[in-house]
């Protein structure tokens, strides 16, 4: 049909109207201090996206042998932890917060004791945005929220 090429041509502009590029800001990255013998720790942080959708697909740190996304769930009174093997979607114009009891970046094979007041470097790999490096502050273990230690309530 002679019309088909025209139809395709008419639709082509739509195909180029894909997701705008993501525009990510990573903030408030924190991890609890550890004691000798502890090999695992959980990093929490907030990602604000002012652009198109993206996906957090990998993480790494010199402080640990591996860093990977995990989801904590508590169903029927049982706590479980599962790897997020597909990564974590960062929605367009959205925000993702890794927090206690939820998604987090699990560090295993910790190579050092995490001491309150110090920090570690965390490398995040995004599907579209590429690599980002963040400083993760180490907080007092009694801290339960993303707010600085001492904050009461939500």
């Amino acid at each position: 049909m002679k019309l088909l090429p025209w139809a395709i041509a008419a639709l082509l502009p739509l195909a180029s109207c894909e997701d705008p590029p993501p525009d990510l800001s990573v903030s408030n990255a924190w991890v609890r201090e550890t004691v000798p013998g502890q090999t695992a720790a959980a990093v929490y942080l907030t990602i604000v996206n002012e652009g198109g959708s993206d996906r957090l697909v990998e993480a790494g740190t010199p402080a640990a042998a591996s860093a990977s996304l995990h989801a904590s769930t508590s169903e029927g009174g049982v706590a479980r932890m599962r790897p997020l093997s597909g990564g974590l979607e960062i929605p367009e114009a959205g925000q993702v917060t890794l927090r206690p009891g939820g998604n987090h970046i699990m560090l295993t094979g910790l190579g050092l004791i995490l001491r309150q007041g110090e920090s570690i470097i965390l490398r995040l790999g995004f599907e579209r945005s590429g690599e980002r490096t963040v400083r993760v502050r180490i907080v007092d273990a009694a801290a339960s929220g993303a707010e600085p230690p001492g904050h009461q309530g939500h």
Partner: protein
């Protein structure tokens, strides 16, 4: 108009009414007797308790504390406590729960024992649970034991746990996330779940420390 029916002989009617009245009063008397009997009949007393391990939820138990010292639940007598089962290689739920309990206890402002029992005795020995318990800057008792002892205590407290192999040869442990609350008499009173808001949790802690 048809003629009125012949009245029954007055005497019979009176007798019938009298009988009905007697019957009704007898019924009333019977009801009163029945009611009184129900009220006053001696009921059987409480059943004698069977062996503690079958009926009681919770202790007694003996585990190992930091430094390898034996820890007996008898040492808790007269003191309310909360008990939570987890493992030190748990990066999220366990530190979060213990941190929360420590924070709530501070808000409560009363003495309260916080017990942390490992469901991973293979990796968590006395040194591990001892150091882990010190993380929270306030008294937390870390407990471990032989795998058999841990299994026994898990049964007593109705705790579930299961090893889950992870990447690279390590493993995680699925486990009951509920905190169990016991009062001064050592009786189970309530639970606190991770999803419960702080106020509800605090109210329960007030009850066991009253």
């Amino acid at each position: 108009m048809p003629p009125p029916p012949a009245p029954s002989p007055p005497a019979t009617k009176d007798i019938e009414m009298k009988r009905i009245r007697i019957a009704l009063w007898a019924l009333v008397a019977l009801s009163l007797v029945a009611f009184g009997t129900l009220l006053l009949w001696p009921r059987p007393g409480p059943q004698p308790t069977q062996t503690i391990s079958q009926v009681d939820f919770g202790g007694p138990f003996t585990l190992t504390g930091a430094g390898g010292r034996p820890f007996s639940s008898a040492s808790l007598n007269g003191r309310p406590y909360v008990i939570f089962f987890g493992f030190t290689h748990c990066p999220d739920v366990c530190p979060t729960t213990l941190a929360r309990l420590v924070r709530l206890r501070a808000e409560l402002g009363k003495p309260l024992e916080i017990l942390f029992v490992t469901v991973d005795p293979e990796r968590d020995g006395p040194a591990e649970v001892g150091k882990y318990a010190e993380l929270f800057g306030a008294p937390v008792t870390g407990l471990t034991g032989t795998p058999a002892q841990i299994e026994q205590v898990k049964k007593q407290f109705g705790i579930y746990s299961r090893k889950v192999p992870g990447e690279g040869g390590g493993y995680s442990v699925d486990h009951t996330s509920t905190v169990l609350l016991f009062d001064r008499a050592g009786d189970f009173v309530a639970t606190i779940s991770p999803e419960e808001p702080d106020q509800a949790a605090l109210d329960k802690l007030k009850r066991i420390t009253a």
